[in-house]
Symmetry: C2
Amino acid sequence: MMAPGFGFEVTHTDGGARRGAMSTPHGDVATPAFMPVGTQGAVKAVTHRDLADLGTGILLANTYHLYLRPGDDLIARAGGLHRFIGWPRPILTDSGGYQVFSLAERRTITEEGVSFRSHLDGSSHLLTPEKAADVQAQLGSDLAMVLDECAAFPIEPAPARLSMARTARWARRARDRFETLRTSPPAGVMPTNPGQAQFGIVQGGVYPDLREESAAATVAIGFEGYAIGGLSVGEPIDLMLETVAMTTRHLPPDVPRYLMGAGTPEDLVESVARGVDLFDCVLPTRNARNGQLFTSRGRINIRNLRYREDQAPPDADCGCYTCRHFSRAYLRHLFMAGEMVAATLNTVHNLRFYLDTLERIREAIAFGWFERFRTEFHQRLSRRP
Amino acid sequence: MMAPGFGFEVTHTDGGARRGAMSTPHGDVATPAFMPVGTQGAVKAVTHRDLADLGTGILLANTYHLYLRPGDDLIARAGGLHRFIGWPRPILTDSGGYQVFSLAERRTITEEGVSFRSHLDGSSHLLTPEKAADVQAQLGSDLAMVLDECAAFPIEPAPARLSMARTARWARRARDRFETLRTSPPAGVMPTNPGQAQFGIVQGGVYPDLREESAAATVAIGFEGYAIGGLSVGEPIDLMLETVAMTTRHLPPDVPRYLMGAGTPEDLVESVARGVDLFDCVLPTRNARNGQLFTSRGRINIRNLRYREDQAPPDADCGCYTCRHFSRAYLRHLFMAGEMVAATLNTVHNLRFYLDTLERIREAIAFGWFERFRTEFHQRLSRRP
């Protein structure tokens, strides 16, 4: 049974690229879409108002962080994540798995799940496919993710197969729990979004046969959407894009496809060309806090001495608040002086660049000129600012 | 000769309180007014857009910080401080003296001025009354301050008299330089605001006779406005307010009076009752970053465990962005999780509380009910939130 509050329709295709409309209990999302990362229920350095002004259609929040602090019980009592953080639009939560594999301490994986210690206070926790579903039900995100095993890169075919198979078994358990939560939630779990949807995750490293098997097993269970996991973890870009292409080929055409954790603006354009609909990445926000700005002519680092008296905006082609009002010289001054608002202004610009790129992608697909857009996008980026 | 771009008119009086209209080259300011502190050309943790939304009429910037980094020469080449920072409304700059006395290292005061070493890189500098005027001319603020000697509290009458007398001699030199800058600026100094005005500063500790002498000497020189310096430096509140009252008594009625560096919301209301027109203070912004919120029922610290699940806004009577959208529980979470936006949201609220208090003061004076406002304001604050 599919989630009642969820829908997806591909409205245009252009080569491998798709434009679509996704509906969720908290509103519609035009795809391909980029989700800013709001780890702890806030996108670092900007307000929700900034995000809305930038045209953010959907936010990502991290289950691991929110489970540990302030806790999903507390958030459920506040009426769910949307109400707790005051964000009325769609939210996707990850399963917490990726953070357990990258942040937590003393991690042990068994068939049951992953036991770990919190990076905050050392407390012990067990994350199972069921627990990940429970926590996300309490958070009440619109799109929940199954718990998957995040294999490292590089990984040999044999362990990659074992890991992929376990992810498939966990996916079955996650879906069973998801359906139980919808019909008769167990005592102590308070789902806050009856229209929540659940996405499966395809793993299998960079091995075509494993990706195909993983896709088949996950699709057989039946989810509202499918994510491509285990990429953007250090593999070469070409291999990532090849793996994306070989994976989307095995996914049904009428459901959304989400490439987790990628990537640069160029990666996004290339992944759209291979049939991806959803993205999230910390690059625009994290790099902003380090002074790196994405522009239509490539990246610049605002700390550079050459910008000391540069009265031009970061990106002359950008219409964001930062570019409309401030010079590189002022942004450099704020950064060098350690002013917090430097992070805010840089983040506003970088998110706008990402969101605007996706908007232009959607337009190009609708008008059937995606290939031309793609070529020009790459040509422009290669001209240094 | 008075500055051409400057004007001030008292439009209403109510007891000792005055409502006025101040005009500057970058627009008008309704008084009594509070100036948010934008030390390095930015108010910490908020954007100019936030400030404008909050109704900020005039900003304060710190000469000491901007002189050291990025430098007033660089700012002058960019067209002055307004253009460099992208703030088109009025700006007041202090003289840099207070920061030299509180931040700089190896400070030596002579009749010529203050020599010191930068707290940033240890470089040697000499700040004289002339230099302070030059730097502010290059910054191009609308209101410039003379260099004064900031005496410590407590201070004995004899050294307080010496310090006050030196401040008066420096004021004479500062005004002479200010007039030279207007008519024939020396080589190497590029004034960027032909309509800049200059305020004198009354010193004299908490001694009525010294305050009277200082006021007389400063008024005799003739400035566009007068500041009350040397208060809010650790003296008891009653003594501060007494000193304010005894100082404003000796100032001409038709020019603005600026109480430097004060204070709490209660201090502002009480100082307005004693004839003050302008204020600046780091309390609302600094305390915001430490989690302390000013509300109509007194202060609260958002870190407190009691707010963990408090779904109420910080101040139910406040219409700021933060109070309209977020709960104490969410703000506490953001603060405890170390999210930068906690500082932003707290600062937005605190500044709104200050600016709104001043707006209500202006309204009360215009309608002739300032005494009633004052009584109710204090009664309300004493009810704990």
